[in-house]
């Protein structure tokens, strides 16, 4: 809602400056989004007179003018033709900055000096279009007066961001009313008397409401003998100041009154209304109608229309029809002022995408009691500006019931809920200032009838809010609540989520967050099989773009896109993870499933520096190591790595599924070269994926901690030749199967193939550390045990000890 400082002053007296007023309005809940000082910076554009005008010697279309700015005569080159010598004009002097950051400088135009510019309305931001320069009334103001001062346009525009509940403030009077209530002053009386001199209105026009439930009030007046003409300057200026384009005197009056009183009005050319009659009804299904914007609309039976005897002439509360609009030749006017049901108007406007100043107000609810006041004021102004005679009386069909039930209000409850201690009289005074009718009840409560325009006040709590608002939120003391102690700690789910994030960060990983929606072909890019459940995603009914049209079922595509994008910026050493929800459709009628998932991707070199150690590329074991450390920290037991069940998006020879007992909890592997290509990634990427919900389920909360042995250890190495078909883990398992509690640790410390190792074999070296919990082991004992281990290895596995 736009309103200006000067306009508000016409309705209420205040002494605040524009800045103070803006602060006051904001603290009333009428938030001033921006302030525009009209004419600011244009003080160098002044009233001036053209003393002499002659042809430019070098250009047919230019003239050379001698212009008097009150102090001196300056030379100005001008391209407009619509003025003659002696004309009073707007001169932008050197140094002026016109809207659009257009600086006026001394210049030479085709060899002739020009010390300023004669301005058009458009150049001063006063009109969207203008033909030629502004020619002013010679009596307007002394030469040299700043033009905005001369035109009375020096004003401040407030753009107020209204919340949807404050439909009463979609008008100048509404804002003035709230201001007056806050300041504790009365609104100034306003209005111009309407002289009715024609026939009784009933003899000229007729109105019928077929659907009173959608149109509880419809009022109309008839004015004949009007002359449609451009509006006078004051009206044009007023509308321009709040950003409304002037059309003609009659339409401008309806717009002015709408902005002033909040009542949308519509003027019909009465001679074009068949039967000089109005019928308010719903449209017929599929009925065609052309609105003022020349668009043909197909209507539904739920649309409310204003009709004449034959056809629709307006889309009620939204827009008039082309078939009855005011034209230059119009002389008889039917002026409509009505109340339409908000929901009906909203439905129609929304469906047709027709959001107008009128529909905006009807949708939010207007003051049903002011319907005729606005009608009368508009009729009076039309008679004043367009001439003609207003028929005697107004048609006012008011089948709806506007009686408001009183609200039972307890002043002490207002104090209690807000946390203030106002006197009862202070509280009631606030309600009275808001134009509520109050009557005190024997039990101490108060019956309150709010004014009609305050559609948002229906309950006691609404009145309590008004008390808080008018008294001032800034006057509410800050207190700390007195609360009961409740026992609560983060859920296991929350604790493990935090722990996993912490652990991944400790593993040098960077957390990323991608959008939850993705492209429909994301699953295809991962080469998922046709029957993979991750191909069934929840679709958005109204996506913004196709790439964000389904809810993701896996975090991998986002992770890989992020990887590719970072690589494009030459960030090649990457360790990324994302821990977010994935989304699966509900199995039956229930809620969709939104489990948390964890994915990671690593690429590039292992650690950054390189001056002391060679930079080595990361590989599968780096990714596996992260998963291992995570599972260890969560104390998830029975972990195994299964290379027989690998996901489609991994390199089949360099990946595996991760199991905990019999449960598959995730996967790790090198990205499949085809998938890598699908995502435009040029370097090898190693990924892992973990089912967070299973981590929560399997994580053991109680760890088994043992005290370390206090006796010395002894280590023995075994180097052996192992066929490639034997997994390294078999060797470790074999040693551990010895079940000797003196074996403290078994470690693979070297894996080698190549020179000196036969084809098809690997040399693997392990180190076993022996230690007892009870005593220092004797050399003989260690030797015996170690020999047993070696024999066992050789017997159970096809290995040769070197």
């Amino acid at each position: 809602m736009n309103v200006t400082y000067n306009w508000l002053k016409e309705f209420v007296d205040f002494s605040e400056t524009p800045d103070e007023l803006a602060a006051l309005l904001t603290m009333l809940g009428l938030e001033v989004d921006s302030m525009v000082r009209l004419g600011e910076g244009l003080d160098d554009v002044v009233v001036a007179r053209v003393e002499e005008k002659r042809q430019h010697p070098n250009a047919d279309k230019l003239s050379l003018c001698k212009v008097n700015n009150g102090k001196e005569i300056v030379d100005v080159v001008c391209g407009a033709q619509n003025f003659s010598e002696g004309a009073t004009v707007a001169l932008a002097q050197i140094g002026a900055v016109l809207p659009g950051d257009f600086k006026i400088k001394r210049s030479k135009i085709r060899g002739e000096e020009s010390c300023g510019m004669l301005c058009s309305d458009k150049e001063l931001g006063l009109a969207e279009e203008s033909a030629g320069i502004m020619v002013l009334d010679a009596e307007l103001a002394p030469l040299g007066t700043p033009i905005f001062t001369a035109l009375g346009l020096k004003d401040t525009l407030f753009e107020i961001g209204l919340t949807p509940n404050r439909s009463d403030c979609l008008s100048v009077i509404g804002i003035a009313r709230d201001l007056a209530a806050k300041l504790g002053v009365q609104l100034k009386p306003f209005g111009i008397p309407l002289s009715e001199s024609g026939e009784p209105v009933e003899s000229s026009i007729k109105v019928t409401i077929d659907t009173p439930e959608l149109c509880p009030r419809y009022a109309a007046r008839y004015i004949s003998g009007c002359t449609i003409a451009p509006s006078p300057e004051w009206l044009v200026k007023r509308l321009t100041s709040i950003g409304i384009r002037s059309i003609n005197n009659v339409v401008d009056v309806t717009n002015l009154i709408m902005m002033e009183l909040g009542q949308p009005l519509h003027a019909f050319d009465c001679d074009r209304l068949s039967g000089k009659q109005i019928i308010v009804r719903t449209a017929r299904e599929g009925e065609l109608f052309t609105t003022l914007d020349t668009q043909q609309r197909t209507l539904l039976a739920s649309d409310l229309v204003i009709c004449d005897a034959e056809r629709p002439v307006a889309l009620a509360g939204v827009m008039g029809g082309l078939n009855s609009e005011i034209e230059e030749t119009t002389t008889a006017i039917l002026l409509e002022s009505a109340f339409f049901k908000p929901a009906a108007i909203r439905k129609t406007a929304k469906r047709l995408g027709l959001h107008t100043e009128s529909s905006h107000r009807f949708e939010r609810g207007i003051d049903i009691d002011s319907v005729t006041r606005a009608l009368d004021r508009a009729a009076a102004l039309i008679v004043e500006l367009a001439g003609g005679t207003a028929a005697r009386g107004a048609i006012d069909l008011y089948p709806g019931n506007s009686e408001r039930t009183p609200i039972i209000f307890r002043p002490e409850r207002a104090n209690g809920l807000i946390g203030i201690t106002l006197d009862r009289s202070e509280i009631l005074d606030i309600l009275v200032r808001l134009q509520c009718l109050i009557s005190e009840n024997p039990d101490g409560s108060v019956s309150v009838i709010p004014p009609h325009y305050r559609l948002d006040i229906e309950r006691e709590i609404d009145l309590i809010e008004e008390v808080a608002r008018l008294n001032g939120y800034d006057k509410i003391p800050e207190t700390m609540p007195i609360a009961r102690v409740v026992s609560d700690r983060p859920s296991r789910h929350q604790e493990i989520e935090r722990l996993v994030r912490e652990l991944l960060v400790q593993n040098s990983m960077t957390e990323i967050i991608n959008f939850s929606f993705t492209a429909p072909d994301a699953a295809g890019k991962l080469l998922l099989s046709e029957d993979d459940p991750r191909r069934v995603a929840i679709k958005l009914a109204n996506p913004l773009v196709d790439e964000h049209s389904v809810m993701r079922t896996t975090l991998l595509p986002g992770l890989l896109e992020t990887t590719a994008r970072n690589m494009n910026f030459r960030s090649l050493d990457l360790k990324l993870f994302e821990m977010r929800r994935v989304y699966f459709p509900a199995a039956g009628d229930g809620m969709p499933h939104e489990p948390l998932s964890v994915v990671g991707a690593i690429s590039g070199s292992r650690d950054g520096d390189g001056w002391s150690r060679p930079q080595e590329p990361v590989d599968f074991y780096d990714a596996k190591g992260i998963v291992e450390s995570l599972l260890e920290a969560l104390d998830i037991g029975g972990v195994s790595w299964n290379s027989n069940q690998v996901e489609s998006y991994y390199h089949p020879g360099k990946s595996c599924a991760v199991f905990a007992g019999r449960e598959c909890i995730g996967s790790v592997g090198e990205l499949h070269p085809a998938v890598q290509k699908n995502f435009g990634i040029e370097k090898a990427v190693y990924c892992f994926e973990l089912d967070f919900e299973k981590l929560v389920k399997l994580s053991r909360t109680k760890k088994n901690i043992t005290a370390p042995s206090r006796f010395p250890d002894s280590s023995r190495d075994i180097a052996m030749l192992v066929p490639e078909s034997v997994a390294a883990s078999k060797i470790l398992e074999c040693v551990k199967s010895e079940k000797a509690k003196e074996i403290e640790q078994v470690q693979i410390f070297d894996v080698y193939c190549g020179k000196g190792v036969p084809e098809g074999q690997r040399s693997i070296a392990i180190r076993i550390r022996y230690r007892s919990f009870e005593r220092t082991l004797a050399e003989e004992e260690i030797v015996a045990l170690h020999n047993r281990v070696v024999t066992n290895l050789v017997n159970k596995l096809p290995v040769t000890v070197r």
């Binding site: 904001t26 603290m27 809940g29 938030e31 949807p164 509940n165 929901a343 209690g416 809920l417 807000i418 946390g419 709590i461 609404d462 939120y473 509410i476 003391p477 800050e478 207190t479 700390m480 609540p481 007195i482 609360a483 009961r484 409740v486 609560d488 700690r489 983060p490 935090r498 994030r501 990983m509 960077t510 957390e511 990323i512 967050i513 991608n514 959008f515 939850s516 929606f517 929840i538 958005l540 009914a541 109204n542 996506p543 913004l544 964000h548 809810m551 992020t562 994008r565 970072n566 910026f569 960030s571 990324l576 929800r581 989304y583 809620m591 939104e594 650690d607 520096d609 001056w611 002391s612």
Partner: protein, 338 residues
């Protein structure tokens, strides 16, 4: 024997005196006192002495050994000291070379803000609640007093999915789910992801909010102001408190927009606060009785407040980020700074 001992002693002491290195001294020790050393050899000869000679010579042997050991010990200590001094004098590294360390992992700024805000509210006795992102209209709108066809629904552009479900437009449905599950007192915050179909420089179709809810007996609007003052002072580390302005949310009444003094300029006015000195960071209010009706709480018996804030907004203010899109571009050059 006695002569031999004297000779040995003199020779040894002289050798010790001239030896300068630790190695040399160790060598002398082995030559004299080792298992096959000279003194050890002489001691073996004690057996051949007469019983009368033995005590005196034995005493002499011991004194010679003590003397040599003492001299050796002192010489060794001084040689070691010299050695250390030499090491300290000669060993030098370039300490300006970068340290060897693993790359530092980082949490996303959104996670950092959620953790920080949760920690502050945990200290005030608020626990963390969660709810689904794909929500029923009833929880997201109706139970929060947004009737169907109400203009207030225009405040939140909604993404719809099938079966009259939608992507939650705010974290407020968690209020409803919590109150349906438990009776007062309620004291929760609910961080989470929310969605609105809006995308430009200042709007992301996906963003994050933290909802707060406190319901108990006798909770006032002043208490809301107190809690938010404590919270914002702790979060931004300033003592300027909050400014509440009347506003409107369907599920609270009275409702307020909550401003803090601009963290950039301290309230003097700058580009970030559009010269107002204030920054809007929260929406809040007293829970509307209509909401209590939907969750079967008795509005005459209890009262409470709710608040909600945008996490991106807080992250941008805390870290001085000017473009929200940076938060979702996942450029590691950006993310590794946190």
């Amino acid at each position: 024997m006695r002569e031999q001992l004297e000779q040995l002693r003199n020779g040894a002491l002289q050798a010790i005196e001239t030896a300068t290195t630790v190695e040399k001294l160790q060598e002398i020790r082995i030559t004299l006192l080792g298992r096959k050393g000279e003194l050890t050899g002489l001691m073996k000869g004690l057996g051949s002495l007469t019983a009368e000679e033995r005590p005196a010579i034995g005493q002499l042997v011991n004194s010679v050994r003590d003397e040599i050991e003492g001299a050796l010990g002192a010489a060794l200590a001084s040689a070691q000291e010299n050695l250390m001094a030499e090491r300290i004098r000669s060993e030098r590294i370039d300490i300006s070379l970068p340290g060897r360390r693993p790359v530092r992992g980082t949490k996303h700024p959104i996670s950092l803000v959620i953790e920080e805000v949760s920690a502050i509210f945990a200290g005030l006795g608020f626990s963390v609640a969660e709810g689904p992102e794909i929500e029923h209209d009833w929880y997201n709108f109706e139970a929060l007093n947004f009737p169907p066809e109400h203009p207030a629904r225009d405040m939140q552009d909604t993404f719809f999915v099938e079966n009259s479900m939608l992507l939650r437009t705010h974290t407020s449905p968690v209020q409803i789910r919590t109150m349906l599950k438990q009776k007062p007192p309620v004291r929760i915050i609910a961080p989470g992801t929310v969605y609105r179909c809006d995308s430009d420089a200042t709007h992301s179709p996906m963003f994050h909010q933290i909802e707060g809810l406190m319901v108990d007996t006798g909770v006032t609007f002043g208490d809301l102001k107190g809690i938010l003052t404590v919270f914002t002072n702790q979060l931004f580390g300033q003592k300027t408190g909050v400014r509440l302005r009347p506003s409107y949310f369907p599920f609270t009444e009275p409702s307020a927009e909550v401003d803090i003094a601009c963290v950039i300029c301290g309230g003097k006015g700058c580009r970030v606060c559009k010269n107002s000195g204030w920054l809007e960071i929260l929406g809040a209010g007293m829970v509307d009785p209509e909401v209590y009706r939907h969750v079967q709480y008795d509005a005459e018996q209890i009262s409470g407040f709710a608040f909600g804030m945008g996490i991106e907004r807080i992250a941008m203010l805390k870290y001085g980020i000017s473009d929200m899109r940076l938060l979702f571009e996942n450029d590691v050059r950006f993310l590794r700074q946190f």
